[in-house]
């Protein structure tokens, strides 16, 4: 049973880390837009670079 005395505080530390990470994410606009990021994998990797119309693809 003594292992529980180690594991429980450990789990609490992990939960605290998770909460901290989530708060960081929320404060840094990671959760403000939940719609657009879903589209990113659908696009090509080379988007956003200004180029001429002629050399496109």
């Amino acid at each position: 049973m003594t292992i529980v005395l180690l594991l429980i505080p450990l789990s609490l530390v992990l939960v605290t880390c998770a909460v901290w990470a989530f708060f960081w994410g929320v404060n840094h606009a990671q959760f403000d837009d939940l719609d657009t990021p879903a589209l990113i994998p659908l696009s090509n990797d080379d988007v956003g670079l200004p180029r001429d119309a002629t050399d496109h693809r």
Partner: protein, 816 residues
């Protein structure tokens, strides 16, 4: 190569004429487009390597407009109001983007602006239709950034820099954090509670039990003191207002259960209930989070005004030259020039040439009105047949538009506050809960004082208003989702209950029952020419005109058109003249066509040649196809219907008669509409108002339930409880049926919660319920409420399958 099947503009989706000649090259393919603006937007998007946008979007793009001069935004006077200078030298601005419709739009905007050198940060908020842009003012001008947005086909409106403090965003972040803390806290507390339940059944030594209780207390502390804070604040507010609502029983039960469990932990008492308390908080916060997301889709009055009032005006200086300045720099007495199709920036007097002013949103007048030299022009109306010059008289807060906004604000304050169904029940619930707890405590005090505390605690947990507190939000959240799927956005949660209760509907006419088109009613030949012949000539004369009457003439004209007209000349506010096959024709007001002042109806226009009148054309408004069945269905549901319009008596009477509505009021200005609303309410009617214009904003704000049309003015939507985003009146009928069902489900939920408590509280008071049974019972009763709410669905009220127009609806399914 262009495909034969493609008959719609690749960019904006507009139907193309069969002989469309414009094509844009996108991703190596030639695609048909409707206009130069769309062609430019399309090729620019392709040139940036962003052609994927066309695959990802689920709503078509706004039609791109021809280039506008945005350089005025670089003036210091405007920048001071609209741009925030950050300490590191960069500039920040919040831009409202008209035409922003779906997630693909926000993707496109972010990537296209990132390609502009000097732009450092772009974050787009689809629900709020805003973008926050940070840029380096030394490298790029604001006008360049706005120009990039305009080239994509969006209309950018920079917002006052005060709007950078985004209340909605802060609220959402805050709610999300609290929800997560409650969720993680709940999981932890339950995990430790299971150890205790197992210990109850199989035996556990006291020191281990106390250890797990203390850990349970530890993980519940953030849930109660951080996540549940809104409930305690709400309860304090309700207490100050002496009006117990939903927050009071929640805060009371939560506080008592937590404090009592903490005391039990400290003194090694019989039971602790940390798991129940944190689950309670999590479920409630989840419900509120959904409700908040709905609320945030509502249009802000500030945003509505930003779109309506131009920020830039063209002032004629003393020397006669034109200069672009910010509207806030204008002063009474200035002369401004308003271009064709532009919005009038201030109230004033028209000087110089005549024009048509479209005031339909402001006054409810269905046709553009003729304005001549010396006539009044009002801010917010749209000029057609410009450019015109206006002598500015009243600005800003003194304009008629501002007066309407103020009237709406007052009506909103005087609006009767119908306590939501759940709130009224909550007041009784608090009393019953406290009575039960007090009775238990007293009774046990006399019988066995050592058990008084634990028995009272058990009563509190069992009576914990979980199922009760969830009964209303669960039903509402489900109803919101079902309605959103049909294109009905509910912006205020208690609007659903109120919609079910409405027994009197007031409809606006222009734009609500009718759409903005007119149709040709009759052609009366006045000479030897046939009606068809006259119509063909008229249609040729009106070639290229965008006036609604011209469009009606063209669509009614027979296929075998007359030969093309030459020497076309249009006289703003009067009509057109031109030559066909050598003969000179004039089409327009009778005064213009015949060259003398006639007695003809204002709704008629005349065709004449040099020898005299040939034909008179009469028009009428085009009633929405679904209006008549929708009104009939509402009547069948037991509601009476009345039309309130700012338009002329004849036109309102015509529409009322065609729709079979007996009571109507014409020439009603916003104040008169409000008076009528009060009158009806004094007679005990529960009034729902359906409108779309700015002139409807005050009466909407004062209504028991306000319903605005999605295509209507933003100001109307900002004052509405419900927006019919798909613009179809028949969804109102379905929405009302769903609302009635929601009300029924709410009543069932509350009845079930009360029944559950009535059975279990006496058992708990007798000390017959162990804590694990109390926890399971609480979960099951909540589950029953949620499952019952799922019975609200739209299967039984199907009218026609509807397309979801806005993908930013939180609940809208993603179109395949």
């Amino acid at each position: 190569m262009p495909t034969a099947a493609a008959t719609r503009c690749f960019h904006c989706g507009e139907t193309l004429a069969a002989d469309a000649m414009l094509f844009a090259r996108v991703a190596g393919q030639s695609q048909p487009v409707c206009c130069i603006g769309c062609q430019a937007a399309c090729e620019w998007i392709g040139g940036l390597g962003l052609a994927d946008y066309y695959r990802m979007r689920d709503a078509t793009a706004p039609r791109a407009a021809a280039a506008v001069d945005l350089s005025v935004w670089d003036r210091d006077e405007l920048q001071r109001l609209y741009v925030y200078r950050r300490s590191d030298g960069s500039a920040e601005s919040n831009v409202l983007i008209e035409g922003l419709r779906c997630a693909a739009c926000s993707w496109l905007i972010e990537h296209a602006l990132a390609a502009v050198a000097g732009v450092r940060e772009v974050s787009v908020n689809v629900a709020g239709k805003r973008a926050r842009i940070v840029w380096q003012p030394d490298d790029v001008a604001l006008s360049t950034i706005l120009g990039a947005l305009a080239r994509l086909g969006y209309t950018p409106h920079p917002l006052n820099r005060k709007s950078l403090d985004d209340v909605a965003m802060r609220e959402q972040r805050d709610a999300l954090k609290r929800l997560l803390v409650a969720g993680l806290g709940m999981m932890q507390a339950m995990m430790f509670a299971i150890v205790l339940y197992a210990g109850d059944l199989e035996g556990i030594d006291n020191s281990t039990r106390d250890f797990f209780r203390w850990i349970g207390l530890l993980v519940t502390i953030p849930v109660v003191f951080y996540a549940a804070l809104p409930f305690f604040r709400g309860a304090r507010r309700e207490w100050r207002a002496r009006r117990p609502g939903m927050d009071t029983p929640i805060a009371l039960a939560l506080g008592l259960v937590f404090v009592a469990s903490a005391i039990e932990t400290a003194r090694g008492g019989a039971h602790v209930y940390f798991d129940s308390a944190s689950m309670f908080v999590f479920l409630l916060l989840g419900g509120r989070y959904l409700e908040m997301r709905t609320r945030h889709r509502a249009t802000d009055v500030v945003d509505a005004l930003a779109r309506l009032q131009p920020a830039i005006a063209q002032r004629r200086s003393a020397s006669g030259a034109l200069e672009s300045i910010g509207v806030h720099e204008l002063q009474a007495g200035d002369r401004v020039v308003v271009a064709d199709g532009a919005t009038v920036p201030a109230d004033g007097i028209l000087v110089g040439a005549a024009c048509y002013a479209d005031e339909s949103l402001l006054s409810g007048e269905s046709r553009p009105v003729r304005r001549r030299h010396g006539d009044r022009m009002i801010a917010g109306s749209v000029v057609s047949g410009g450019p015109v010059e206006i002598h500015v008289e009243r600005l800003g807060a003194e304009t008629m538009l501002s007066a309407i906004v103020r009237l709406a604000g007052q009506a909103q304050q005087q609006r009767p506050q119908w306590a939501a169904y759940g709130e009224r029940a909550a007041a009784y619930f608090v009393v019953a809960l406290l009575c039960a707890a007090a009775t238990t405590a007293l009774a046990w005090w006399y019988v066995d004082s050592s058990r008084a505390f634990s028995a009272t605690l058990a009563v509190l947990v069992v009576a914990c208003p979980c199922a009760f507190a969830l009964s209303v939000p669960a039903a509402l959240a489900r109803a919101l989702a079902v309605l959103a799927r049909r294109g009905v956005l509910v912006l205020k949660a208690n609007a659903i209950e109120n919609l079910a209760r409405v027994d009197q509907f007031l409809f606006d006419k222009t734009g609500t029952l009718t759409n903005r088109d007119v149709e040709l009613l009759s052609v009366a030949p006045l000479a030897q020419r046939s009606a068809d012949e006259c119509l063909a000539i008229a249609a040729q004369l009106e070639t290229g005109s965008t006036h609604p009457l011209a469009q009606a003439l063209r669509s009614a004209a027979p296929a075998q058109a007359a030969s093309a007209a030459a020497n076309l000349r249009s006289v703003a506010g009067e009509g057109v003249e031109g030559d066909i096959e050598g003969r000179h024709y004039r089409l327009g007001t009778a005064a213009f066509a015949l060259g003398k002042r006639p007695l003809a109806d204002a709704d008629e226009i005349m065709l004449a040649d040099d020898s005299g009148a040939l034909a008179a054309f009469a028009f009428r408004e085009h009633i929405r196809a679904e209006a008549a069945p929708a009104l009939a269905a509402l009547r069948a549901q037991g509601a009476s219907i009345e039309i309130l319009s700012g338009d002329s008596v004849a036109r309102v009477a015509d529409v009322a008669q065609r729709l079979g509505v007996e009571t109507f009021q014409a020439r009603a200005n916003p104040a008169r509409k409000l008076d009528r609303l009060r009158q009806l309410r004094e007679r005990g009617r529960f009034v729902g108002v359906v409108g779309d214009g700015i002139n409807d904003a005050p009466v909407l704000a004062g209504a028991d339930v306000a319903i605005a049309l999605g295509s209507g003015a933003d100001l109307a939507q900002a004052n509405a409880d419900i927006v019919l985003a798909n613009d179809r009146l028949d969804t109102l009928v379905a929405a009302r049926a769903i609302a009635a069902k929601t009300l029924r489900v709410m009543r069932q939920n509350i009845a079930w919660a009360l029944l559950y408590n009535a059975v279990t509280v006496p058992l708990a008071a007798l000390g017959a319920i162990p804590p694990w049974a109390a926890a399971i019972g609480m979960s099951l009763s909540s589950l029953a409420v949620v499952l019952n709410s799922l019975r609200i669905n739209d299967r039984e009220h199907q009218c026609k399958p509807l397309r979801v127009l806005h993908s930013d609806d939180a609940f809208a399914p993603v179109p395949a």
